[in-house]
Symmetry: C2
Subunit: 113 residues, 2 copies
């Protein structure tokens, strides 16, 4: 499932035309067409987030398909040495979805005093 395929499916589920979607995020409609047919690489993270908002889907879904991180997340973890160290380890461990989910739990526990 490519980014284009997912985008096309989600857009249709939302009952929106390419022209409508394009207008509401401020790009040319032909650009949407090319994305849906994988003629162009996925757009910038901001644009993906804007698309997700219009189509009312979780932005992470489209972002992951595109292999991009939202800009704010990218910035906050990129600037933190401690976060970088964590991510290096996490990458080396090659966590499963289930394990990432458990890490989310650990996060929550860290905070719910």
């Amino acid at each position: 499932m490519s980014f284009g395929t997912v985008l096309k499916d989600k857009r249709r589920e939302a009952g929106v035309t390419q022209r409508e979607l394009a207008k509401s995020i401020g790009v040319d409609f032909s650009y949407i067409s090319k994305l849906e047919n994988d003629r162009l690489p996925p757009p910038a993270a901001d644009t993906i987030v804007a698309i997700a908002e219009v189509l009312e889907v979780a932005s992470e879904e489209l972002l992951a398909e595109a292999g991009k991180l939202p800009d704010d997340v990218q910035k906050s973890i990129g600037e933190s040495l401690a976060a970088q160290e964590f991510l290096r380890d996490a990458k080396d461990f090659d966590l499963s979805d289930e394990e990432w989910s458990q890490m989310r739990e650990s996060l929550r526990k860290l905070r719910d005093d």
Copy 2:
């Protein structure tokens, strides 16, 4: 402490000239000069990693100063929906260094059964 300042300090500590460093990573020496004086934005993540290797410093240190993630980490977490969800939460929590360190501990515990 800018990227340039850190680079200059680390390079001098390593006892290496701009021309030597430049040659060993395959860029022009004038580029190193501009980086050290913050006349240009930090280089691509790959280049930063290459610099760190030559200077024998932990790449994370320079990467964090530049606000960049190494390409392999970027790729592996960018493509994972579960990782994205974790990072969204982590960013919202705005973890301290100490807390990131604890998360690393949780990671380790997840694996050493």
